[in-house]
Subunit: 153 residues, 2 copies
């Protein structure tokens, strides 16, 4: 378990603390590839029709934006944590369209945490993940939950 010395356990998520997760470039190729597989609406995959849409051009699927944020959370700390999965998400807001060439800055804030009464080896952490674009606009906000193992004694 020596590799777990620097792991994140339930106790390490401090309400109010913010974890900066760095930046990610959003490419047109990736927008089209994700949307072609999972969300082939015209304003995600078709340049010409996207131009005529209210968005004025191709935008990323909201699920793609969430998935990109997820990857940054996993790389930032979740892959080195006692994560036991997630019961769900309480709110997603897709606030500003994500477009090719955007650079997203992602952060995770711990909102609260609740140790399980029935299962003393774990607890739920409530978090707010946000992604800002290069203009400082929050493009997406996700209020979610994660189940984490408690630090072994």
């Amino acid at each position: 378990m020596s590799e777990q010395t620097n792991w994140w356990f339930f106790e390490d998520f401090i309400p109010g603390a913010v974890i900066e997760l760095g930046q990610r470039n959003v490419t047109e190729e990736e927008i089209l590839r994700f949307a072609t597989e999972f969300d082939p609406q015209s304003f995600h995959i078709d340049h010409e029709r996207a131009k005529d849409s209210i968005f004025g051009g191709v935008i990323a699927s909201g699920w793609h934006t969430c998935s990109m944020i997820m990857r940054m959370v996993v790389d930032g700390f979740l892959a080195r944590s006692s994560s036991m999965g997630s019961p769900g998400v309480d709110e997603i807001r897709w606030i500003v369209p994500v477009k090719p060439g955007d650079v997203l800055s992602v952060r995770a804030e711990t909102l609260s945490r609740h140790a399980s009464v029935s299962k003393p080896d774990r607890g739920v952490v409530y978090t707010l993940w946000t992604a800002e674009n290069q203009r400082g606009e929050v493009v997406c906000a996700i209020k979610g939950m994660g189940m984490f193992g408690r630090r072994p004694h």
Copy 2:
């Protein structure tokens, strides 16, 4: 606009009405591929470590499950609708793990709809999307919103 004769407009979403969206097989290849790109936690991508997790084997990323459901919604009606994107989701619940070999049956229920006062050409439809596995267990429930253009007069 003749191709739009069978399109779904705001007015076509009737509160209480359910749209059955068919079935989708979940393959291990797809679970690993999605998670490797977007959610590389060990219980999504690593057979051995997943066996030792609380899940007892590899499970799909929750974002992957949402994305698979999204694709069925797009194929079912959204690609032939006046969809103007979505402001967000009010709740996701990942209730039962999704595993390789699962067959998901997806349905969309219209919960309510609200014509925009400020923009009379559109309105928001509130929906509940659910995916059931081959044992009749609801594995995922998504309460979301969609903006739709109103039917032209």
